[in-house]
């Protein structure tokens, strides 16, 4: 038989993505593209008030409207739908849960809280009928700022949570009081991590098809984690999991906003259960901005203690983290586990303490948003280091160098209790500085300052936590599930392969990179491997795609499964070639007896022979298929160093981002083109936070940035080329050494750009401006100094 001779290794090559042809031709099917016979359309009536008592809800006129099939309110749903569970119950935090109902009952708590649903033959008719629902409210005082919500006079959202505190969590290590008592220098800052709108280009959508006679539900859902949706849907609707099939078809971006279990999904399911017809609900963009979860929303008071020569001795902070009106699926874990435990970053910080208050506010619930907790930690550290550098008159790069953890390749214990897996932070920093020629940049800055121009340089070093995570740790930190991933590798008789995974990529390209893993391990062509995901009926259980964990955990599961296949192939080859299995070797797609590489079996030969099973060794089962449920022994910790160069125009406050360079280390790269794409997208999303994006509520709790006309996501003409470089430090515990790259860019770029702007304005004595750094904000910040000038 012929064997494929491999010239270049497929692991590490930037091949084109297998998912693209269908996406490029309009063949791909997203949730809103699903059309079923007899399908009807749902539209939600949402509260126009941030906080109010519902005094009247009359649906009778709406029910008479043309095309309307049904109108439901909480009075209809409450006997069927249970409250939506929060799935991250952070221990030791005195968590105050309050019922999160699919349709609000009696009281609405944010603009967008759903109170009724109309189902009609067309979506236009459904929206028309919404106007005919007579809803009246007694408005109540509202609060949207997380810190203000904890103050004495603040209105309370839930009787279960006095003072609106949903939880209070503390992380500490070392003797922080002593560190501050003996500090030579202390710098302080109040940082506002503004609320953001994730803005996946596809809004959230669900199509529910319940068949009364079988009691079976199929739910197409724009989600990052179909298996969690099935689990939660079963809890909320009572439909047994075995009758419940969740399909995440093509998903148009998530960035964390498609982790949550949404009220609208369960209401849509309810409608289908009641009507016995398929029901579709798709958010409009304006609805998406109210109903889909938001990100960030921290107010942070931070203090850093250090010596005069720049050695950090302690970090202390208090964070008020806005949770919005209800605790979304993973929300409590984000400002705590994913934020607080990463507070020492890539630095040796001997003592730290953080108090985190998760706070109910009259705003849309907050969830993970790209980076989820780590950008808020990284920004805090990188700000404080620059502030320290300014205070003691040392270059910020030198302060970083002084404090960076030295290179390590197999574990480093940090003060928060985590063990980082491997890192070479200085290496990444050196690389980025050499690439930009840092000294020359500083010289140019000095020259421009002479001319009255304000150039700024931002440098940051970061480490983040990915590959969530060991399930034992998940349990210990209150995650209501495991965090392993699964893969099934199935060889067909012709040597073609199907891979079934529990995770659910939605744009990250794992159909390609996972095929590369199989091809690399077993010597098949990439094009002979098809990766199947997103359908709970034909994939093994998995926890989903978020926290840059699909390759870091799911990829490990896949590697382990392919190695099981390889072990079976060795046994079968030994049997067929009449040799002991210990004497069988594998190289480039061939299995052969040591010393006689010309007599060999390919994996395709083995696939055929194992499947026909005419001649198997005693006790061997037929087929060539392996399953792995992989529970990682530790998290992975990607890291890097970024540089931004800006010029600020003081007359207008305009920030011109001139250059952006990223050095990231995610371990070995399976497909460097895809890695680069992840960095581009991530960096730009973080730049958006630094310069343009903010979800703005007015005092009454109205969302002022309620449409894509008001909320400024980055556009092509506002951005420079992102220069992408990398270093490679394998994870010691991952079977392929890989770490994850989905969020790195976002984690690093916000603070890098922010620090560059503040650096530019140093001669004008501006040392902080609230994000985003819009021309108006920058201009206003400059007014006192310019008046004085």
């Amino acid at each position: 038989m012929t064997a494929t001779t491999k010239t270049a290794r497929v692991f590490g090559s930037g091949i084109r993505r297998r998912e693209d042809p269908r996406l490029l031709t309009g063949t791909a099917r997203y949730t809103d593209d699903v059309a079923l016979p007899g399908m009807v359309y749902a539209a939600m009536l949402r509260s126009p008030h941030a906080h109010a008592r519902i005094t009247r809800l009359d649906t009778s006129r709406a029910k008479q409207a043309p095309g309307v099939v049904a109108v439901f309110t909480a009075a209809d749903t409450e006997s069927v739908l249970k409250p939506i569970p929060c799935l991250w119950l952070v221990p030791g935090s005195d968590l105050k849960l309050s019922p999160y109902r699919p349709l609000a009952k009696d009281v609405v708590r944010y603009v967008g809280d759903a109170v009724a649903v109309v189902v009609a033959e067309t979506s236009y008719q459904a929206y028309d009928a919404l106007e005919l629902i007579e809803a009246e409210y007694d408005t109540l005082p509202a609060v949207t700022d997380p810190e203000k919500a904890t103050q004495d006079a603040a209105p309370e959202l839930h009787e279960q949570a006095p003072g609106n505190v949903a939880f209070h969590w503390v992380v500490q290590g070392g003797d922080v009081e002593a560190a501050f008592r003996s500090a030579e220098v202390v710098v302080r800052e109040r940082i506002v991590q503004q609320r953001l709108l994730p803005t996946a280009m596809e809004t959230h959508s669900a199509v529910a098809h319940y068949v009364p006679v079988t009691g079976e539900l199929t739910l197409w859902n724009s989600t990052q984690n179909p298996h969690i949706v099935r689990f939660a849907c079963s809890v909320v609707t009572g439909i047994p999991e075995d009758r419940l099939r969740v399909i995440a078809p093509e998903v148009g971006g998530g960035f964390g906003s498609k982790i949550a279990q949404y009220p609208g999904d369960f209401v849509t399911v309810f409608c289908s259960m009641k009507l016995g017809r398929p029901v579709k609900w798709t958010e409009t963009r304006s609805e998406n901005y109210q109903a889909t979860t938001h990100g960030r929303d921290h107010v942070q008071d931070v203090e850093l203690a250090a010596t005069r020569d720049g050695q950090i001795t302690g970090l202390r902070c208090t964070v008020w983290a806005g949770m919005g009106a209800y605790l979304s699926t993973a929300a409590p874990g984000i400002p705590t586990i994913l934020h607080g435990l990463m507070l020492s970053g890539p630095y040796r910080i001997p003592a730290l303490k953080e108090d985190v208050y998760g706070v109910y506010t009259n705003a849309t619930p907050v969830e993970a948003y790209r980076g989820a907790g780590r950008p808020e930690a990284t920004f805090m550290l990188e700000r404080m280091i620059n502030r320290l550098a300014a205070e003691i008159g040392i270059d910020p790069v030198d302060v970083r160098r002084k404090n960076l953890i030295p290179p390590f390749d197999d574990g480093f214990d940090v003060v928060t209790g985590l063990k980082y897996d491997s890192g070479n932070y200085v290496g990444a920093l050196d690389k980025v500085l050499a690439h930009v020629d840092y000294r020359a940049l500083r010289a140019e800055q000095a020259r421009l300052r002479q001319q009255g121009r304000y150039m700024g340089i931002g440098v940051s070093t970061y480490v983040e936590i990915c590959g969530l995570g060991p399930s034992q740790v998940a349990g210990a930190v209150g995650f209501q599930g495991g965090l392993w991933e699964s893969a099934i590798v199935r060889f067909h008789p012709t040597g073609k392969v199907n891979v079934f995974i529990g995770a659910s990529p939605h744009g990250q390209g794992e159909e390609t990179t996972f095929a590369q893993i199989v091809a690399d391990e077993l010597g098949v062509e990439v094009t002979d491997v098809k990766v199947v995901h997103g359908d709970t009926d034909n994939t093994p259980m998995g926890w989903g795609t978020y926290g840059s964990r699909t390759t870091a955990v799911g990829g490990a599961a896949l590697a382990v499964a392919t190695r099981k296949i390889k072990a079976k192939a060795m046994l079968l080859t030994g049997h067929l070639l009449e040799a002991a299995v210990e004497d069988i070797e594998y190289e480039s797609g061939r299995f052969f007896v040591k010393g006689t590489p010309d007599r060999y079996k390919t994996i395709q030969d083995i696939a055929l022979l194992a499947n026909v099973a005419w001649n198997l060794p005693e006790g061997m089962e037929a087929g060539l298929e392996a399953t792995s449920f992989y529970d990682p022994p530790n998290f992975t910790y990607p890291f890097g160093a970024h540089v931004a160069v800006v010029e600020v125009e003081p007359e207008t406050g305009r920030v011109d981002l001139k250059r952006y360079v990223a050095v990231d280390d995610c371990g070995p790269q399976i497909n460097p083109v895809i890695v680069e794409g992840q960095v581009h997208g991530g960096v730009v999303q973080g730049i958006g936070q630094a310069l343009w994006e903010e979800a703005v509520y007015d005092d009454s709790g109205q969302l002022l940035t309620g449409s894509l006309a008001d909320y400024a996501i980055p556009r092509a003409d506002q951005l420079p080329e992102i220069e992408v470089l990398s270093t490679v430090t394998p994870s010691p515990h991952h079977p392929l050494g890989v770490k994850g790259i989905g969020e790195a860019g976002t984690i690093a770029s916000t603070c890098t750009v922010y620090n560059a702007v503040i650096d530019a304005l140093a001669p004008l004595k501006v040392d902080a401006i609230r994000m985003p750094l819009t021309p108006e904000r920058v201009w206003r910040a400059l007014q006192p100094s310019r008046e004085g000038a």
């Binding site: 490029l24 280009m201 895809i674 581009h680 996501i713 092509a716």
Partner: protein, 157 residues
């Protein structure tokens, strides 16, 4: 009230009765069932719905089906000919100009429009030409590269 319209889409004529308020994008997606054209906003910002109307790129959420009666539309489903990808589809693929793919149909038509007016745009001109189209995944960089590549492939052809 409904009105009759005849609209040619990807070379095929469709005669339908539609409500006067029906948006072209909903005509394409819901009436004709061509779901390749996407809806990303309700304020005509995102460009996901961009199609060709008599050869010119338009946002199909900004016009009514009745307004384009008698016109000819090209959607993403009609861009490849006889199974061969159009040059922009090819270069978006080879330059990794898409991730989730949701903005892609609109991006490709925006790029098509740009190249119609300027066969050899600079990177900066491309970025300006994409002002009306939003992508949340790619940071635009590989989209710019894909369009540059398409421009040079066309030039070579």
């Amino acid at each position: 009230m409904t009105l009759p319209v005849t609209i040619t889409i990807n070379g095929r004529s469709y005669q339908r009765q539609v409500e006067p308020r029906l948006l072209l994008v909903h005509f394409l997606r819901d009436v004709v069932g061509l779901t390749g054209t996407k809806v990303g906003c309700d304020t005509s910002q995102c460009g996901a719905c961009t199609v060709l109307l008599d050869g010119t790129a338009v946002k199909s959420c900004t016009c009514l089906a009745v307004q384009v009666d008698g016109s000819s539309i090209t959607t993403i489903e009609g861009l490849a000919t006889e199974g061969r990808l159009n040059v922009l589809q090819e270069t978006f693929w080879s330059k990794h100009g898409l991730q989730c793919g949701f903005c892609t149909p609109g991006m490709i038509f925006a790029a098509h429009e740009l190249l119609r007016h300027n066969a050899h745009p600079s990177a900066e001109e491309i970025r300006h030409g994409l002002e009306g189209n939003m992508c949340r995944c790619t940071g635009y960089q590989n989209i710019v590269r894909a369009i540059e590549q398409a421009a040079s492939n066309e030039g070579a052809a």
